[in-house]
């Protein structure tokens, strides 16, 4: 995971040419009032689109927790669609803005982890846009086809093995479940529009930089937690796995230890080993 600390794409990865007979698995989260109704209209109008998409109905695109957006990637999906009402048309007034905020930040996380952000798609479909919906699904499925299977090794755009992709997706999901990250996602828009508790408005540029640094920290923390989840793992091993300095790992491990999330297991060859809290018992 050479890029974890720095972001950007891993060098020398796969070409993303599609595997023979690759059928992308796509999960869609559709809001009840606009996009799900639009999908129904595509049906009533008998507009064909690929069978790859499987839909989960939620009341509002704002219901789609950032963790939920990432969950399909852990279960084998190659692409995820989040579809809501058009801006200004949200049945619940502003849920779609929340969905947009979340997707935008999850994109940053994916970028950071070297997973192609195009695998997570966000768009708006009204209840009247059956044809638009059908086209959108066709286009997205075709797009995912060119990205290749998630974790498809050289046959995928990211060049990540199945195991590595799953690891990174798990890291992303944990980041999305983290308190600091979630608070920032929720406040992001307000921070630049209303200002922080001191009434200072944060420029969008600054807000993005802040988010970027939180994501960098959280990714390392989440990765340590995942790696220390099964068996004790040494700081040295973590550092070499993530391609970052042992110093950085130590700092974040100390933080996790303070929060009671991991504990010191032993010291092996001058490198401390950590394990998930409570795993020893």
């Amino acid at each position: 995971m050479a890029d974890l600390a720095v972001g950007g794409r891993v060098a020398g990865q796969g070409q993303g040419q599609s595997e023979e007979g690759f059928e992308p698995e796509v999960v869609g989260f559709l809001c009840n009032w606009c996009s799900y109704a639009g999908a129904d209209l595509a049906g009533t109008s008998r507009l064909a689109y690929p069978t790859n998409l499987r839909v989960i109905r939620v009341m509002c695109s704002g219901r789609v927790d950032p963790e939920i957006m990432l969950e399909p990637f852990l279960d084998g999906a190659d692409g995820v669609m989040v579809l809501g009402c058009h801006p200004g048309d949200c049945h619940y007034l502003s849920g779609n803005y929340q969905a947009e905020q979340r997707v935008r930040t999850i994109w940053m996380v994916l970028d950071h982890l070297g997973i192609d952000r195009e695998r997570l798609y966000l768009d708006w479909v009204s209840a009247a846009e059956g044809a638009r919906f059908a086209d959108m699904v066709s286009e997205f499925v075709a797009r995912v086809r060119t990205l290749g299977p998630a974790g498809g090794g050289p046959a995928s755009r990211e060049g990540l093995s199945r195991g590595e992709f799953a690891f990174r997706a798990e890291v992303a999901r944990r980041v999305a479940g983290g308190e600091r990250f979630r608070w920032l996602v929720g406040r992001n828009k307000a921070l630049s529009e209303e200002g922080n508790v001191y009434g200072e408005k944060v420029s969008p540029h600054k807000a993005a930089a802040l988010m970027q640094s939180v994501i960098a920290d959280e990714c390392v923390r989440a990765a340590i937690e995942v790696l220390a989840g099964e068996a004790p793992v040494s700081v040295r091993d973590i550092a070499s796995r993530l391609g970052i300095s042992a110093q950085l790992v130590l700092e974040q491990a100390a933080y996790l230890k303070r929060r009671g999330l991991i504990e010191l297991y032993d010291v092996s060859g001058r490198s401390p080993r950590y394990v998930r809290a409570g795993a020893r018992a």
Binding site: A48, R54, M59, C60, G95, Q98, R182, G186
Partner: protein
């Protein structure tokens, strides 16, 4: 939550929907794969699950097999979720223990080309529904009150009719109209097809009836600013614009207008005449009170004048009036804000707005009307000469495939009959005149319509099948049209004294904002979307909000009135309910996890979750009646302390996993 303790007993029902599903999806295979899933005690396929037989099968299984979860794979839950929840309820089961898999709209109907893949997808959708059903909990609905009053927005013939139906049923009704008077477009028409009754002669008595009905309160010169609440209990903020005239005191004598020094183009007469800054749109206006047009009034713009105030013997002019916002509580809302005629100047090829003798069909109604600017004499605007040769051009702003210049792709439905009527009236007044109609197709579906059209043909009106590319002005204000006649194949090159553009009906001004305030969807044509195109034509996607008249789609007066009757009936039915049961989809907050960060409170669009001080510190509390169940709080909570009822993370994750399982 006792139901979720033991292993649930689930029944799965896969619907054929005749051949709608079974024609594409291998229903038996889907049934068999469902049968193999954990917790499924019975899986059946039915011809029509929603039929009485289908429902009875489910009811029998619930009783005989002790089912505690029901999964139905059929059409969209948006169609039949209610029906099937009802079946569960009748059997004494909690209605929220139902889950549906949409294998029609989102499977068989869109994958008819690939049965095998459609069948696999249907299996996955059923698997996912079963996985979710396993985790469903029984929920109890909360109850909301019903305010037995209705608001009708828009005072055209549709709104007037709806208000009268409701008022006569004894239901308190507010009729909100943006203009100083109710009446809408029908008040501007001369005669109405196909019977040629005088429009105001039939409308005016209804308007008077509105004014006299003690259950109806007209809020004229007013607009809806904000809507809160839900079916049975809406709180509507209405902005009542200052009219600077006390409605109760004004008797409509007109002394004020006679003395007012400011002349303004008269929009009621399509700017073909003038009115004063203090005015009444037309003599039969309801309320019968004058209004001051603040934009043009000399006193209100320049600070000097107040002549009207001096001459009004009744002291009805009140310059210190201001806009005020009133909050009205109602249980149901009928939207009847009508239409706007297509702006013909957006089609420069026809010269509307440039050539004075090119007019629209609505201009024509004013010209031919006895109360209009020419007192009913047929005169063309350019030079007040009587036009001897008149051309009508159909479908201006309608049936425009590409929807250029704000035109609709749809047929506006009424314009053919409007032209048939107007051409007939020209012939009636001036039998010697020559009348040509350039049309695409003449559409005369309606009671007595074809007969009326044939009568017009008999009068010697010439119908030319063709859409002229342009209208050119010639010396003396006459107009030249060159067009093919598709029926004879000839090119016709003709000169006319006046051209009437049969403009289409487009969505009314401000509809985008109004739809947003009411949370309503619009169809691709821009009009408001009905609840279901066939079965719920005057309902909307929002419970308690109904549609009447052209705001749903262009229609003629009888259809507008008919829809108003329907909308009034459903609104009255809502008002007659004792209470409204609301779906309990809100948040459950785990106080052990909540850190009181207030994120949920800041993000909830309805103020339905509040952080309060408790003896364990600050904790979030849900305010059930205000909550609409969007789930924004649950998806945002920084401490993941919120679980959404009926759409929990666990349920969604289980669905996702089941969808992606390899079958």
């Amino acid at each position: 939550m006792q139901a979720s303790c033991a292993q649930p007993r689930m029944g799965v029902y896969v619907c054929h929907c005749g051949l709608n599903i079974a024609g594409v999806v291998d229903v038996e295979a889907v049934r068999d794969s469902a049968r193999a899933l954990e917790g499924v005690v019975v899986a059946r396929d039915n011809k029509y699950t929603c039929s009485e037989v289908g429902q009875k099968t489910i009811a029998d299984d619930i009783r005989d097999l002790g089912l505690d979860r029901v999964v139905i794979a059929s059409c969209s839950p948006r169609l039949h979720e209610k029906t099937f929840r009802g079946v569960l309820e009748k059997c004494g089961m909690n209605p929220f223990l139902l889950e549906m898999a949409n294998i029609r709209e989102q499977c068989s109907w869109v994958h008819s080309g690939d049965s095998a893949a459609a069948t696999e997808k249907a299996k996955a959708l059923v698997r996912s529904a079963v996985a979710r059903a396993r985790l469903l909990s029984p929920l109890s609905r909360s109850e909301g009150r019903v305010v037995p009053k209705v608001m009708v927005v828009g005072g055209g013939v549709a709104g007037i009719s709806a208000a009268l139906y409701l008022g006569n049923m004894g239901i308190k009704t507010y009729l909100v109209e943006r203009e100083p008077s109710i009446g809408g477009h029908m008040a501007m028409l001369d005669k109405t097809f196909p019977t040629l009754d005088c429009s105001l002669c039939i409308l005016s008595p209804k308007m008077v009836e509105v004014a006299e009905n003690e259950n109806i309160q007209v809020l004229s010169y007013s607009e809806v600013e904000k809507v809160e609440g839900q079916v049975g209990d809406f709180r509507v903020q209405v902005r009542r614009r200052a009219r600077y005239v006390d409605e109760a005191k004004c008797v409509g004598c007109g002394d004020c207008a006679a003395k007012c020094p400011v002349r303004v183009p008269d929009e009621f007469n399509r700017n073909m005449g003038e009115r004063k800054a203090i005015y009444i749109p037309f003599p039969q206006a309801i309320p019968p009170a004058y209004a001051i047009d603040a934009e043009h009034c000399r006193y209100l713009t320049q600070g000097k004048c107040r002549v009207c105030e001096k001459v009004c013997e009744r002291g009805a002019v009140v310059f210190d009036q201001t806009d005020r916002v009133e909050t009205v509580e109602v249980g149901a809302i009928v939207v009847a804000t009508g239409f706007r005629p297509y702006d013909a100047s957006k089609k420069p090829q026809y010269g509307y707005g440039r050539y004075p003798n090119v007019i629209t069909s609505l201009d024509f109604e004013r010209i031919i009307c006895a109360d209009g600017p020419t007192h009913g004499k047929l005169k063309r605007p350019g030079d007040q000469a009587t036009p001897g040769r008149i051309a009508f051009i159909q479908c201006v702003g309608s049936r425009d495939e590409h929807g250029h210049d704000g035109a609709g792709a749809y047929c506006s439905r009424v314009c053919c009959m409007i032209t048939a009527k107007q051409a007939f009236m020209v012939k009636e007044k001036h039998p010697d005149s020559e009348v040509y109609v350039y049309y695409t197709d003449m559409r005369t579906a309606g009671k007595g319509f074809e007969e009326f059209y044939q009568r017009g043909r008999g009068e010697g009106i010439v119908f030319v099948r063709g859409k002229p590319g342009e209208v050119r002005e010639e010396e003396g204000g006459s107009l030249r049209i060159t067009s093919e006649d598709a029926d004879s194949g000839c090119i016709l090159d003709l000169s006319f004294d006046m051209v009437v553009l049969a403009v289409g009906l487009t969505p009314p001004e401000g509809l985008v904002d109004l739809a947003q305030r009411l949370n309503l969807s619009r169809s691709a044509d821009g009009f408001l979307m009905e609840g279901h195109p066939k079965l719920r034509p005057f309902e909307t996607s929002i419970d308690g909000i109904y549609l009447a008249g052209c705001v749903q789609f262009p229609k003629d007066i009888p259809d507008s009135v008919a829809q108003a009757g329907g909308a009034a009936a459903v609104a009255a039915a809502t008002c007659s309910r004792q209470k409204i049961e609301m779906d309990p989809l809100g948040p459950v907050i785990d106080e052990d996890l909540c850190i009181g960060c207030r994120l949920c409170e800041m993000l909830c669009p309805y103020g339905a979750i509040k952080v309060e001080k408790t003896d364990r510190g600050y904790k979030a509390r849900s305010i059930e009646v205000a909550c609409k169940g969007c789930g924004v709080c649950g998806a945002s909570c920084s401490a993941r302390a919120i679980t959404m009822k009926h759409y929990s993370n666990d349920q969604i994750v289980a669905q996702t996993r089941a969808l992606l399982e390899v079958s």
